[in-house]
Amino acid sequence: MNDRLKANLKYQLKQNKLGIIALIIIFILIISSVFAFLAPHDPNKIDVMNSLSFPSKEHIFGTDEMGRDYFARALYGGRVSLTVGFLSMIISTIIGTIVGTVSGYFGGKVDSIIMRTIDILMSIPTFFLILILNAYLKPGIQNIIIIIGLFSWMGIARIVRAETLSVKEREYVLYSKVIGEKSNVIILKHIIPNIFPTIMVASTLNIAGAILTESSLSFLGLGVRQPDSSWGSMLKYAQGYMGDAPYLALFPGILILLTVLSFNVLGDVFRVAFEPKANND
């Protein structure tokens, strides 16, 4: 990445304290997911005597309806939510970048067809489609990741295409064409590195969306299913205990909010750092 952009980013982060906080939060979340096994309690250990106990020193997030330590469950749930979010982002980014660069670079009929297809795909309520597919395929984290990834690339593709259109007119691209470099080489060597900052912004925001989608799916019972659990599915079971143990709904929800918020803030910080013309002040 460009030195100027790196410098811009550092400056923006210094300016925008929210950005640093977001980075810290994401870092903490990732670390706690990776090291979830260090949690003081076993997330699956059932202890019916202690069920639905209020948060205490022993159980910082309390216990759920089966007496399991909620904090440990939250950590492991975080693993799932973050993994799904990240991996489906990878899928969406790869598809979106390929489609976007091809469409933008080759233009003409290819471009028209691809853009029309994207238009059509975006006219279908993708959330509903994800619901449908998830319901009828074998349940499992793998499928969820693939399905969310398969339906979230369109936005990235459009942005990538727009950037490709502007980059492809630049001299080094024209020069490469003149000396006869093959199209896919040009795209890989010249176009993608130059639109990378844009892709970074779009991907970061994509993770946020993916985490939200997964949690909605799991909440409805159509996403991550037992014995796996994610923050969304924890909320599904928490619904029934709103009266007695409202904290069951509080913690996973706040975690989702914090995570998604951090990625959104980070994505904005990236956007301002990488595209100074497109910023607010």
Partner: protein, 324 residues
């Protein structure tokens, strides 16, 4: 002059409608394929329990279920256009009727949410832009961030906990109280679902208007207006407003997908008897004809909504008037 303008508008509307036909055809193909790919005997969608085997075989014939796929599609399309969307696999009632019964509830919720989102979004966005980086702006920005990051179903749960369980101010389920037919009752039931459905759009519209207004305020014509004695209020709410709002019409189109997607979750949580709740139920019930129909309907809502916003934009922006 006015007649010319009118003719132009009609021409533009027709053009836009024609442009969206390929999309509707594509959607219909997708919906058709959805049903084709569903497991089970496809004729199930078109029969009721009372029918005997001969009748079923006849229906199989008439629906062309034994014929090649493109003929099946055309037959299906024909019956869809006639209004026949098959029967629900669960309760064997006509799908079309079920959807139409529930459409008003969904459209009402979506419509109210859209109107509120736009009004609040525009107002907050304008005031934020006018007071850039001051307290109002910072608070509004923070709430916007939360608005686009909060999982809507969790927000709904928190609202229900607070307003229904704890404060007992609002009912948490359904559209009406049984036996009560007042508007006030309807409103009480609708407040929370509307808030939940609107939150994300209010946040994104606010951000959009804010940035659009800020960039308008940098334009030369604003300086010229100040130089001819306009007050800050006049500049903001009369002159810049019209320019900032233009993208709003596009935003209208952009808000639709989240309205439609959001309707599924919001209606489910609040037990709102709309198309969205029906869709979720259909998925759990493996009710393929219903699923297909709801997919088609929601897509239609999206396409028509975009069409309307395209047309509105064409009318509003004088620069787009492609005379001749």
């Amino acid at each position: 002059m006015v007649i010319l303008g009118g003719i132009f508008v009609v021409r533009m509307i027709t053009k836009r409608i024609i442009q969206s036909i390929p999309m509707m055809i594509a959607i219909s193909i997708v919906s058709f394929l959805l049903i084709k790919l569903a497991p089970g005997d496809p004729v199930q969608a078109y029969i009721t329990p009372e029918m005997g085997p001969v009748q079923i075989e006849n229906i199989r014939e008439s629906m062309g279920l034994n014929k090649p796929i493109h003929i099946q599609y055309l037959i299906w399309l024909k019956s869809v256009l006639k209004g026949d969307l098959g029967y629900s696999l669960v309760n064997h009632r006509p799908v079309a009727m079920q959807i139409i019964e529930r459409l008003p509830a969904t459209l009402g919720l979506m419509g109210t949410s859209l109107v509120i989102s736009m009004i609040l979004g525009i107002i907050i966005g304008l005031i934020s832009a006018a007071n850039q980086n001051k307290i109002f702006d910072n608070i509004a920005a923070f709430i916007s961030y939360i608005g686009i990051s909060i999982p809507s179903f969790w927000f709904a749960m928190m609202l229900i906990y607070l307003l229904s369980l704890k404060l007992k101010l609002l009912p948490s389920i359904g559209m009406r109280t049984i036996g009560v037919h007042t508007t006030w009752d309807l409103i009480k039931h609708g407040i929370m679902p509307t808030i939940v459905l609107s939150l994300q759009n209010i946040a994104s519209i606010t951000r959009y208007i804010r940035s659009s207004t800020i960039s308008q305020l940098k334009e030369d014509y604003v300086t010229v207006e100040y130089a001819s004695g306009a007050s800050r209020r006049e500049v903001l709410y009369k002159y810049v407003l019209k320019n900032s709002i233009l993208p709003v019409i596009t935003i209208l189109g952009m808000s639709l997908p989240s309205l439609v997607s959001g309707a599924f979750i919001t209606e489910s949580i609040f037990g709102w008897p709309g198309m969205g709740q029906l869709g979720i139920k259909a998925i759990f019930g493996y009710d393929y004809p219903l699923i297909m129909a709801i997919t088609m309907f929601s897509s239609l809502i999206l396409i028509i909504g975009n069409l309307l916003s395209d047309i509105l934009y064409g009318i509003a922006d004088p620069r787009i008037k492609e005379l001749k």
